[in-house]
Symmetry: C2
Subunit: 207 residues, 2 copies
């Protein structure tokens, strides 16, 4: 509901269009004028509701962090069998990124352009909590002989790499291969299965 632009309150229309523009064109590449025009209002309204461009940007940035972290944190702290957990973990990332493919590029890029201002916002979410639980899990499974000896931090980084990079590479890949969005989506969907298989093969001991 409320897909109709006209039915949304001005404030929400601004938020919605700001999200599109900031994520696609970045902070520097987006002007308050662009946001005002896209949401069918004017510059004064944007500042009336959000005080400043940067303040509006911070709200969008936090929303993007939510998308990338909330569901995944829930998923990886569950008590499923280890290979099932890994499969669902990867699948959750692909499902999220299928819907919001530009978010990893957006976040990493804005953080690298403005580290002082933005990293604290990520730290506030305490990502260590969720990840240390996974680390413990990996250690236990290795002791049981279910998986190979595996440094948890390196493994975590591999999962992030294998899930995020294909979407960050998407724009480039599509134009290089001269295929439209749909076709790349299909490639990505089959890539997900390969990534799961690849990861599980890498972890499984050869008995």
């Amino acid at each position: 509901m409320f897909n109709n632009k006209e039915l949304l309150e001005v404030k929400d229309r601004i938020l919605k269009e700001a999200q599109q523009l900031f994520i696609r064109r970045g902070y520097k590449g987006t002007s308050v004028r662009d946001i005002a025009k896209a949401s069918g209002t004017n510059v004064a309204m944007v500042n009336y509701y959000f005080q400043s461009k940067y303040n509006l940007f911070e709200i969008i940035f936090e929303q993007a962090l939510d998308v990338l972290t909330k569901r995944v944190f829930e998923t990886i702290t569950s008590d499923r069998p280890i290979f099932e957990l890994i499969e669902i973990w990867i699948h959750t990332y692909y499902e999220i990124l299928f819907e919001y493919p530009e978010i990893p590029t957006f976040i990493l890029n804005e953080v690298s352009l403005n580290p002082e201002g933005l990293t604290q916002r990520i730290k506030n979410r305490n990502p260590y909590g969720a990840f240390s639980k996974v680390a413990q899990r990996i250690e236990d499974e290795a002791k049981k002989g279910e998986i190979r000896e595996t440094p948890a931090a390196d493994f975590l980084l591999n999962i992030l790499s294998l899930c995020m990079f294909p979407f960050m590479f998407g724009n480039l890949a599509m134009t290089l291969m001269e295929i439209p969005r749909d076709a790349y989506d299909e490639l990505i969907a089959s890539h997900e299965k390969y990534v799961i298989e690849f990861t599980i093969n890498a972890l499984k001991p050869c008995k």
Copy 2:
């Protein structure tokens, strides 16, 4: 040699500082005034030698592409044994990115902000040539039973993911873990070894 700023010609000083600034702050985040000041000259000189900001940017962008592609293309078309080739392939990426860690973020970000203008420049390099040779190689080795059945495109994407993402993630990781550049460099160096092991384990059939 010529490390001393004063000994370089004005044109080369501008190129050098423009590289730093464009790669670190992006096209939109860098002004011609910044470049002029950093190279100890003025705006008029930058335009005298390079006509426009965008023209100068294109030169820097091409240089960045060179860094990321030239050595790797040579490496992966060699006739080494397959596992040795994979090890050297990954190692080459890590060696390059150790020296220029910001380049993948820079390229992917600028392409996503300006796809029409920049992707043609990548296509011109004909990356298919090198990659199709690797694809053939993977197919042959799978037939011989040296490695598992492996879709070449997916495998290539995994290699890119596992090599590039850790550097793109670097800025964020460093501030999250509250460690300085040196410490992250050490983590990356040991991560390289894990990535090689991980990849080879994923490929090796369990005999």
